[in-house]
Symmetry: C2
Subunit: 428 residues, 2 copies
């Protein structure tokens, strides 16, 4: 048995050893950069990478005091986040050479906690559907998912232990599922958005990727400022609501198999798994999410829509035009329905601590011309609930599959503790 | 009786004449620029002004088709909004020469509707308390209020008919009150924030200033995309809840007088004015607003806090340090309390269409070293409710005083219709 290379260890294991000065941030950065050098020509996870800058950050951390929870950990930063030391392109040719004057607040918080910003990871065009060059690291003929394509791929391929992403429809959970890593989308409104390209204020959430639940909990604690996210003690089995959702008939055989696998495995550990009573009209949330997003994206991207229409993809222009055609009165009614649903869904959590539900239709689709369907993520984005994707199996094409757990609004610490419990039992 | 100069007319009157091509955008821009030339050395409303650029925009609008609701109207833009054609300083020396790559989405929406961006108006440092050079146009020894100091002063002084502002604590309503203009803060979440310096996502709202309720309704319709905001037909007397709030003992004699004046005047027009039953512990909202803002501002301004501490005012550094000392668990509890209050307060609007309540302690305080106290605005910012300041009297120092009307969440169109009805009766 070979000893794993430094870049193959989980963030939470590395964090302990870095804080104890058992390993150097520089050595870890070198191991990650070596992995990038080996694999980047196939994976294309990074939009911008500056090895010299990354090593300088690591050396400065080795030379100074232990900074915080992420001390010495290299992170990938989705290219939707502003960075002062690396170009920020938002996935659009329009911003190809843009160099922001300030770091996004969340990037600054990661730096404050001791993270080494390795590089900017590929995003789709303005985090919508037009893909970048990233391939699925498990098989480069398949999409990594999107929009946080490069972040999910870089973590899956051991290029970095952690990476930042954002989700408006399914941009964290879907690529996490396709790449086989843990993805965490916090409750809406718990992470400040300053310096991240804003698309839909009602839906946008900043989160990230790691290779274990503990890893994303560490990152989440830094992003939210809430240390409870990784400070769980011992805890018993959560009450798990099994919720296939009305979209279930669209789940393919791989998702059906992983569902059976998980529910059977969990049943051997707890009798607190119960089917969720389907809220009436829950299926409406998918279209409602699309409408809210379309209205708000059309307005948020007004500068690009009005000044640089020719530089946008056909797909994005169609979305923006559709958004401008939705009336304010309709949007107002949609936001009211959203608020009503957010209240209504909260009562589900009186009977269940977390909900187990699909993350994606199945394995990553073949081809790089699209990033897959966020079908199973849209409702949770609309509801603003915290979500964790748990990878634990493979499908027919030998690509990763898994399921997501959804928590009660604002109870991210309970969700992460439950996700850890569940993930341990599914990966034993 | 002299004919008013073009720059003295209300935005809504001008909009009609501009759309009919009865007046030229260029002539209006010239009239506004002449007023700026006369008065700017005393008022200091603008952080950046480019007359050549403003005239070029106006001429282009005169030469083309009528664009939209704001066709040909010059607007002042708070220097917290990104603009491509004018520097954007956020009220901080740190960003003195910053030139953003994109317009804020709301600036682009105003341009799309035909507005002429006249210049950037003075904001306090990052819209917190450290003042800029702006004076109150009614008496330059007094503060104009803040943080949207220049926008309120420019509209009050007839330099522009409309201006954009933002409110996190009391940054629209307070300067509107001190300068004697109509200020409008929309419901939280109804105006997209892309490209405006983000301080506190739970509280930040984009709105603006005009010299009549119709004026701010016009601007509001463009910002929210909801045409109902200015499309009121005939409407009867609203049911007005009289709500002095627990802070009332701090209201000075001018605010007491204007309260008596208003309630007596309204009583002659309707018997639907009733005292609001004080919700228990409503006074707690002021500290709660401070705590939510402090936590979120400390994180939103992380780049500035970590990289440029020496360039920040002592007052701001103290706020940011205090914010970093608040735990995530406490903030989580504060957000939960905020959500509970937002639900609870909604029931007040079963009995009242709008609430009449103070805007400020009294007239603008003397001196330019501070911008006054947002005491009477904090609770409404925390609750996310739409607010309109109505100027209609003067106080002991012959400076403007007035009151604000607060509407039900999401019912901005009803609030503006009611505000128009009330304002007409108070200014007859």
């Amino acid at each position: 048995m070979t000893t794993p290379r430094l870049n193959e260890l989980d963030a939470s294991q590395l964090a302990v050893r870095l804080a104890r000065r058992e390993i150097k941030a520089e050595d870890l950065a070198i191991a990650c950069l070596e992995r990038v050098a080996e694999r980047e020509d196939d994976v294309h996870a990074f939009a911008h990478l500056d090895a010299v800058n990354a090593l300088a950050q690591a050396r400065a951390l080795d030379a100074g005091p232990v900074r915080g929870l992420l001390h010495g950990l290299p992170i990938g930063v989705k290219d939707l986040f502003d960075t002062t030391d690396l170009p920020t392109g938002y996935g659009s040719t329009l911003y190809a050479h843009h160099r922001p004057v300030a770091d996004a607040a969340t990037v600054a918080l990661c730096r404050e906690a001791g993270a080494v910003v390795m590089g900017k990871t590929v995003t789709t065009e303005f985090a919508y559907f037009q893909p970048g060059p990233t391939c699925n690291p498990h098989n480069t003929q398949f999409t990594p998912g999107g929009s946080s394509s490069g972040s999910a791929a870089a973590v899956a391929d051991h290029m970095v232990p952690l990476a930042l992403g954002t989700q408006t429809a399914g941009s964290i959970i879907r690529p996490a599922a396709y790449c086989g890593v843990v993805g965490y989308k916090p409750s809406h409104g718990r992470v400040v958005g300053a310096g991240v390209k804003s698309l839909s204020p009602t839906l946008d959430v900043i989160g990230g990727f790691g290779r274990s639940v503990r890893d994303v909990a560490l990152l989440g604690a830094v992003l939210t400022g809430d240390r409870r996210l990784f400070e769980w003690g011992e805890h018993g089995a959560p009450r798990i609501g099994l919720f296939q959702t009305p979209a279930w008939p669209q789940a393919d055989v791989d998702t059906q198999n992983v569902w059976s696998l998980a529910t059977q495995a969990l049943a051997t550990h707890t009798d607190a798994c119960q089917d969720v009573a389907m809220p009436q009209n829950f299926g409406d949330l998918i279209q409602l999410q699309k409408d809210v997003m379309t209205f708000e994206m059309a307005r948020s991207l007004s500068h690009e829509r009005l000044r640089h229409r020719e530089a946008l993809s056909t797909q994005l222009v169609a979305l923006l035009d559709a958004g401008m055609a939705i009336s304010g009165a309709t949007h107002d009614a949609n936001l009211q329905r959203t608020a009503d649903w957010r209240l209504r869904i909260d009562s589900l959590f009186e009977r269940h601590d977390v909900l187990l539900t699909p993350s994606a239709i199945g394995e990553a689709p073949k081809g790089l011309e699209a990033t897959g369907d966020p079908l199973f993520c849209r409702s949770w984005s609309l509801l603003g609930l915290p979500c964790v994707h748990l990878p634990f199996a493979t499908g027919a094409m030998d690509l990763p599959v898994g399921l997501q757990l959804v928590g009660r609004f604002g109870e991210d610490h309970k969700l992460l503790a439950a996700a850890h419990w569940v993930h341990e039992r599914l990966t034993r």
